[in-house]
């Protein structure tokens, strides 16, 4: 009898779960913490819908939204024209949050360095091989620089962080743009590859003279020093949530939201930052799901953005927020 009761209860639960709508998404790993926070919070507001997000990487996210195996995709880089042409319908890019990529290093005493784009590019091109180099010294007259060899550390895995980094280097150095270019993985002129932000941070921490790039949060967690970088307005800016949001409001953003926000002209903008996108079809296949998805997107941009800073993401500035909300209105279901 008790067994029967148990079975009935289980069936009841199953029926309940079936009534709850499941919306599937897949893609970038960088925004995963904030997205899962959003899904958790949103479950309290609308319990009839459940989100399932697989953080398999931007490449996988783009592929799955193209194949329509998920209801939304996520990517740290905008989709290429080539990939968009393969889509069975129009795919919208909706920016959600942004993050800073910082230049971090291992020098005795962990001094605060000031660097400009040309110097950073020369470090990563292997043209500056010693820390005592004149070009670094000229930017940092107060810092006592050691004669150590520069050891460049970069990401070995394909990553949106790398894309932002090389996008910046390409925008400040012609030589970088022609020799190396932009991509989630590139053919590095010099240096060692560390796996993931934690791998790069770990190697920099151990290796005297190392220099590399990581997302801001990893530099903070590992107590690594990071440089102030000279922006297009000629100011040295400390990376942080405000200076990234500043960069986004200064960036030129086209109507399809496929934009790069590196090296914008704003006075207080930090120049090495990028945003991450959700990818959704303008014409939703399933009207019920489409409706729920649009409700969620509106909530995420209106309410969800305020949770970003606590997780070290930069929220969208108001002008961009309004434009994204306008775009969400065009989704049909």
């Amino acid at each position: 009898m008790r067994n029967l009761c148990f079975i009935l209860c289980a069936l009841g639960l199953a029926a309940n779960a079936a009534a709850q709508m499941l919306i599937n998404g897949a893609g970038a790993t960088f925004p995963y913490p904030i997205y899962s926070k959003w899904f958790d919070e949103y479950a309290k507001i609308d319990p009839s819908v459940r989100f399932n997000y697989q953080s398999i990487g931007s490449g996988g996210g783009q592929k799955q939204i193209l194949a329509r195996t998920v209801d939304f995709g996520a990517s740290d880089g905008p989709m290429s024209d080539e990939n968009l042409a393969k889509a069975p319908g129009k795919i919208l890019h909706l920016p959600t949050v942004a993050g800073a990529v910082v230049v971090t290093y291992n020098l005795p005493g962990a001094p605060k360095l000031k660097l400009d784009g040309a110097t950073v590019a020369d470090l990563f091109l292997g043209k500056i091989t010693r820390w005592s180099d004149k070009r670094i010294a000229a930017l940092n007259p107060d810092v006592k620089l050691p004669g150590d060899d520069v050891v460049v550390v970069h990401r070995s895995d394909g990553s949106g962080t790398t894309y932002i980094w090389v996008d910046y280097l390409s925008s400040v150095s012609k030589e970088w743009e022609t020799k190396v270019g932009r991509g989630t993985s590139v053919n590095w002129p010099t240096g060692l590859g560390g796996k993931g932000n934690e791998g790069v941070a770990g190697q920099i921490k151990q290796l005297p003279g190392a220099v590399g790039y990581v997302e801001l949060i990893y530099a903070k967690q590992n107590k690594l020093p990071y440089a102030d970088v000279k922006n297009a307005g000629g100011n040295y800016v400390t990376p942080g949530i405000e200076s990234v949001t500043e960069a986004m409001s200064a960036a030129t953003i086209p109507d399809d939201f496929r934009f790069s926000m590196v090296n914008p002209t704003g006075e207080k903008a930090y120049p090495i930052a990028g945003c991450t996108w959700l990818l959704v079809y303008e014409q939703q296949k399933d009207s019920e799901k489409g409706k729920k998805l649009v409700e969620f997107l509106n909530w995420a941009i209106n309410q969800g953005e305020s949770m970003a800073a606590a997780l070290d993401y930069a929220p969208l500035p108001d002008n961009v927020k309004q434009r994204v909300l306008e775009r969400i209105k065009t989704i049909q279901y």
């Binding site: 990487g57 070995s156 394909g158 932009r182 060692l192 560390g194 151990q206």
Partner: protein, 325 residues
């Protein structure tokens, strides 16, 4: 009457039993055959899937893929040579370190170890096999690599620096570090298999050698190791198979630089690592195809290395048997 029934049952039973056994035997034979064939089917499926997944790259690069040193996702030029080199060299280093260690410990465990020490040692070795590779990789990054950089490598450099193998800047992460971490991972498997093989050497072999007045070392060398040579070689091949495909831990300590350098202190890259590193963010078709082709090359390298190893075994194993009276 009763006797009749008894005879009837006794005569009927074995016949029915026989039929049943024949059927059972046959079913068992087919079932095991099916399972054995499934292994072939699996390898064939993996191979064909990799082949299909890499058709764009196969068409675009042809044989050049195997001999090109370029790996540039931006300009979409792909070549596997530095990765093939890294896979082979890191596995070779691993074998050079792991084989003597494993076989020596297997000999110790079967021939020399006192009983009370045997079981704890075996347990420890098996425990080592159970350490997940990502944990080993983290240990590699935070413990092994700094130690190598500060202690072992500088000593190697000052002692053997005249060899090109031990020249150039020391970063810690390197081909040698990759080889060492693989060695740690394959020692348990080679040791366990070798131990089983040495245990299966008949006691008569040893007794006969002792009877001829051989010392313990001679008994081990002539009667045991020589007798078990083929089996030990098989154990090494099993270890090699694992070494070639080892991914996570290697990626974390090898430096991930697609370069062919003479120095073991220089960073390297392996086939398995590049797939693990770049697969998730590969967005263009040709890039993804090139990564599939790397998988195909890895499968090919594994099969080829195994075949060469077996060929070596046949050539030299034959001579070994002859030397044995």
């Amino acid at each position: 009457m009763q006797a009749d029934i008894e005879t009837a049952t006794t005569t009927a039973l074995p016949q029915g039993h026989l039929v049943q056994r024949r059927f059972g035997d046959r079913a068992f034979k087919w079932l095991t055959l099916l399972m054995a064939l499934a292994v072939f089917a699996l390898i064939f499926l993996i191979g064909s899937e990799l082949w299909l997944g890499s058709h764009l790259a196969l068409r675009k690069f042809g044989w050049r893929f195997l001999f090109s040193k370029d790996w540039n996702p931006v300009s979409e030029q792909f070549g596997a040579l530095p990765f093939i080199f890294g896979t082979l060299v890191s596995s070779l280093i691993a074998l050079l370190i792991a084989v003597p260690v494993s076989i020596a410990s297997a000999v110790f465990l079967t021939e020399l170890a006192p009983k009370w020490l045997r079981q704890p040692l075996i347990t420890f070795i098996e425990l080592l096999a159970a350490v997940p590779s990502v944990i080993l990789g983290l240990w590699g990054v935070f413990v092994m690599v700094p130690w190598l950089r500060e202690h072992l490598f500088p000593r190697l450099k000052s002692a053997l620096g005249f060899l090109p193998l031990f020249q150039g800047p020391v970063y810690g992460v390197s081909m040698l570090a990759g080889g060492i971490i693989i060695a740690i991972m394959i020692v348990p498997i080679i040791t366990s298999v070798s131990r089983e093989i040495l245990r299966s050497v008949p006691g008569l072999q040893r007794e006969a050698a002792y009877a001829l007045g051989a010392t313990r070392w001679e008994v081990t060398r002539i009667a045991v190791l020589s007798y078990a040579k083929k089996g030990l070689f098989g154990a090494v091949i099993l270890g090699l198979g694992r070494a070639l495909g080892e991914t996570m831990a290697v990626t974390m300590v090898i430096g991930n630089r697609p370069e062919i350098a003479a120095s073991l202190f220089a960073p390297g890259y392996t086939l398995a690592s590049v797939v693990a590193n770049e697969f998730t963010e590969a967005t263009t078709d040709i890039y993804l195809n090139a990564l599939f082709e790397i998988g195909l090359v890895l499968l090919g390298v594994t099969i080829l290395v195994n075949a060469i190893a077996r060929l070596l075994l046949r050539t030299f194993g034959g001579a070994g048997v002859k030397a044995q009276p």
